[in-house]
Symmetry: C3
Subunit: 493 residues, 3 copies
Amino acid sequence: MTRKIAAIFLLLALLPGAAALAAPLSDDSQACLDCHAQATPGIVAAWQASRHAQTTPAQAMKLGGLAAKLSASAPPPEALATSVGCAECHTANADSHPDSFEHQGFQVHAVVSPADCARCHPVESRQFQQNLMAHARGNLVDNPLYMDLAAQVNGVQQVDGAAIAVTPAEPNDEAESCIYCHGSAVRVVGQITRQTDFGEMTFAKLDGWPNHGVGRLNPDGVKGSCAACHSRHRFSMAVARSAYSCAECHKGPDVPAFKVYEVSRHGALFFAQHKDWDMNKTPWEPGKDFSAPTCAVCHVSLLADGEGNVIAQRSHAMNERIWLRLLGLIQSHPHPKSPQTSLIRNADGQPLATTLDGRPATAFLIDQAEQDKRRQTMRRVCLACHGQQWVDGQLARIDAVSQSADAMVLAASKLVRRAWQDGLAQGPAQGGSPFDEYIERLWVEQWLMHANGARFAAAMMGPDLGVFESGRWPMAKNIRQMQDWLIQRKGEK
Amino acid sequence: MTRKIAAIFLLLALLPGAAALAAPLSDDSQACLDCHAQATPGIVAAWQASRHAQTTPAQAMKLGGLAAKLSASAPPPEALATSVGCAECHTANADSHPDSFEHQGFQVHAVVSPADCARCHPVESRQFQQNLMAHARGNLVDNPLYMDLAAQVNGVQQVDGAAIAVTPAEPNDEAESCIYCHGSAVRVVGQITRQTDFGEMTFAKLDGWPNHGVGRLNPDGVKGSCAACHSRHRFSMAVARSAYSCAECHKGPDVPAFKVYEVSRHGALFFAQHKDWDMNKTPWEPGKDFSAPTCAVCHVSLLADGEGNVIAQRSHAMNERIWLRLLGLIQSHPHPKSPQTSLIRNADGQPLATTLDGRPATAFLIDQAEQDKRRQTMRRVCLACHGQQWVDGQLARIDAVSQSADAMVLAASKLVRRAWQDGLAQGPAQGGSPFDEYIERLWVEQWLMHANGARFAAAMMGPDLGVFESGRWPMAKNIRQMQDWLIQRKGEK
Amino acid sequence: MTRKIAAIFLLLALLPGAAALAAPLSDDSQACLDCHAQATPGIVAAWQASRHAQTTPAQAMKLGGLAAKLSASAPPPEALATSVGCAECHTANADSHPDSFEHQGFQVHAVVSPADCARCHPVESRQFQQNLMAHARGNLVDNPLYMDLAAQVNGVQQVDGAAIAVTPAEPNDEAESCIYCHGSAVRVVGQITRQTDFGEMTFAKLDGWPNHGVGRLNPDGVKGSCAACHSRHRFSMAVARSAYSCAECHKGPDVPAFKVYEVSRHGALFFAQHKDWDMNKTPWEPGKDFSAPTCAVCHVSLLADGEGNVIAQRSHAMNERIWLRLLGLIQSHPHPKSPQTSLIRNADGQPLATTLDGRPATAFLIDQAEQDKRRQTMRRVCLACHGQQWVDGQLARIDAVSQSADAMVLAASKLVRRAWQDGLAQGPAQGGSPFDEYIERLWVEQWLMHANGARFAAAMMGPDLGVFESGRWPMAKNIRQMQDWLIQRKGEK
């Protein structure tokens, strides 16, 4: 920081004619700052450090072509000449916002939705609606099988003698579990009047708040939260592009992407060097702006070489570079056609993309041509830094590991089915949940955690995670533990 | 580094009259450096890069008001005009140091205690003595129940046929376990004479050394080690303020604070951006100096807005912002009144803040008014960057998650009690340790690890950790495993 | 980056006579770049940012003495005057490269081996061949006992009624497991002809590719991959010296070095401060260039104080500073004499450095004098920043923890042997694998994971990892679980 100040000081001394670059603030946003600089100083100071505070849409429009950071052909005319301040987002589209309320002479809403961001970033907003993530809430809460699993995870268990009763978790407890990442339904449930430093004020009272899950259902009916990755109130591209941003929801054993990254060569380079990378450049140039991919490089960002040749187009519909679903229930399978996975039904009528035995629900999944196309898109990203044999060799390994992980899940599925058939546990056919008893939970871990460890480790090139930490060893041991349980329970041997 | 040198070089070239800023070294410290620059070059070089080496207390005193980094109204007069060098700390308060020994004409002690630091930082030193951490050693070793648990963790188990005997761990083994963080008792046990590069020398021989645990009992009888967080010999505020510093003792499953931070939005911002933050500013300004809280922001640091309005006062008695104890034995409860928790007795006479059923030892715990006051202090920190509904919504969730985690521990407690009652395990009533047998260890994991995962994840806003990695899933599975064990052992079903 | 550019701009403005520092490119490498700037832009851009691109060997030779980054007394004369570009490595030693193929008029090989790097770095290359890591592949695949374990980890298990059959994993699946770090055997298996943007081309077809494991067996018969730590194509010393580089293979529960570092004071300082460290300095000065050791500081790097006094000589034979082997099968033991550990046989004829009871295979292990010498070498590194009592106290604790961990493994070994003797599991004497059944896997975890956690935590000074996360608690619980299993299976109690 000191260095920066010194450098700027010197620069100004040498270039006395240098013009100030600051963007003018709108009167409305100035009115916000008049109180909020004191009321919420952290938000204001963070925003002041943002590109939104330092650029007007009109200025941003001048960065054309690949360098464009704004996809609207015509941003709202009234917002063109001032910085993107408080009012520009929190009073936008007031008519479609049931959470809008009168506040010091303005119609204000707290919950900014992707529709608000779409005023300047319509392409990204539209793409995101095609992203599985935008549907993360519905894909969970509209799938009865997943909701049964959630109940067995979050429910409060009460021991009464030998029996265990499960009470549903409180909404405030649920909000800190699956819903935190999948997204809450934010709804206006009345008004709240409060004494503040600036007198008595009335606000819209929100249910399901706070939440910034990727699949949040906003009061305006629009899905998603851009802040999930871009983080309020600096909305830094550098943050969204850093691998850290993804870790908030993609580190646990059910989806250990960041854990894989931590033991990958890609990650080693990022962690050791990203302080010197240009995380804000557009387009983003491999090898120059960064030395190794972050999550965004492979899954989202616009990449080009030094000559301006596009390596990969930006897309916020991240599925466009993914052909295989690795964390599908029970077995891996081609990616779903629609981002709304709760609509899928397998041959056994279950809301799953495969049967327990791995037969895919083909009608709901992308075909071979689409798989090849997406694989090719990802392949081009890899080829920026790796030779063809390297890339094709690596891709073949992802397939091999997925298949062996599927086989190891199948083995566990056979064992839990034997427990059900022999009356040692109560499965669906016996009217029980398949997810509550101990032996069933071992089975759940096989596909929801262990298999994912192996698959993700191969897919994101951090194999070490998939050997002992997660993946192979836990899968191999778990099968033997389930077998051992059956032997013991049946009194065999 | 190169850049810095270049910038300084240029600055000097442009401002030829600029005065050197270095602080003069005392003669005593110069005498230390004469040998130690060669004997322990790493220590000397690290100290040379420190603020202690570059500032005199007299210079520091000029930074008054909120910017003050030194709390003494009158630092020792003899130390005012020179930098804070080796001698200023390692020869201070020689009379109260049993570990002081004659060394090249000086009375020197190796173990600098908070009483030495208090010469310039008396407020922080005094506050720290009210901190639970200062009592971390006594709170462990003076609690017979905790010591039984420690013995079942650290003791060496010997298998003899079907029986297992537990031998206490060696002191050198213990020192690398609980005691490392809780703090050793450092005592002088004689003298040691050694041949050195500078001739034969005699030193005080220390037992319990090395150690820099927060609750260390120093030879001078004072509790604590400032180096636990501030790190020798640079004593960097930036290090203590970084989340990394806390990870040394707060990452394991018994207290997974850093693990939660790693999957929180706060953490994502810190990890991605802290290279550009001003980690040394006093007071510390949210949004400007940093974009997201580190541990210190919420629990320790002096925060103010850009106008100099105080958001939170600095306190090294970290309990001042904590109302609820989340990692209390068995069940959560209001914070203890005294930092000496080994004095607490519950209704069953155990040295615990609640009974196994969760009844709090109210007389030893802060009352509702004090809880509200502390909650309010923390709330103000949150409000710097979040609206009131956001903050109050989040705080309500901490309560909800604590309650459900408590309920899930209670379920496990009922199951282990059944094992004791049915004679399947030897609990306290049967004259056994409640912590040694397999079924008892499952119970221990329920409260000491799994429940903490859920509670901490909610309290520090990294919910993902509390769903599958720790918290809910392990709690829910563990209850079923304990039930399954009972079924099996009783031969039921 | 902006700062750097500003500073350079100013420097040039003030020093108009400053000469350009760029190194000339060879004609051959220019020919590579002509196509590859477009074909693999990421590689080219990363290389352009490297020291290899910016310096000629002749320039590097001028940095003599401790500052030397190049150990050849006479690098190849034809490579002296140009930068170290594509051709300098990928066409070097063509005669010894079976993977060399004709490519646009050049004899090119994709797999650069340590023999190629040895043209300029012969000392490092030679030392590395004495490193255990260079033999990581053979030490695994030539040890039948380890290969049995690998088969029980990677093999695909098929459930058929009560029986489980194990099918060997596919090579592409194996490549993503043990072999990824231990190293593949890269062999030429034919040719491959492909349509490219530059016309049809023919390449050597490689088996075992990609791989950059430390023990890779290259087509030229030479062992190792310098890129495993130094990372293509920037070959940054800063990356290899950062702890992140080691995490790729040293983070899992079998070798949790990086996990220990993450909870060590050393790690806290690295993570918080390394952005300001000089990670490229040679020699490396403790306290000035860095404030806390990374893995390389203790195990590899050349360290000197500010006067140029050597603290530790650089060595790529990392064993030179290690006297005790902590992750040896079953029990810790003195370091092996030869890096080829598959040649070791214990008193029971097994390819292990100790018997199951811990008797060392003394003839294959370094003697006390060599142990003392290595301990002394490491001790000198510690002494740069710590006093003698500190260091000796810490070293004594490593011994104590190793011994108690060995005792805790012995307890588990006795329990698994009882299972074998009582016919409850099929061990080697019964013609079974000692690694496949559930009770055997608990035993494997005791030494391969849990004991390592305690030992590594003490050795690398991050004790917290060895208490609950790994180490003591899992070891103590596991013994009770194994005992519980025996009680249950025998129907006792």
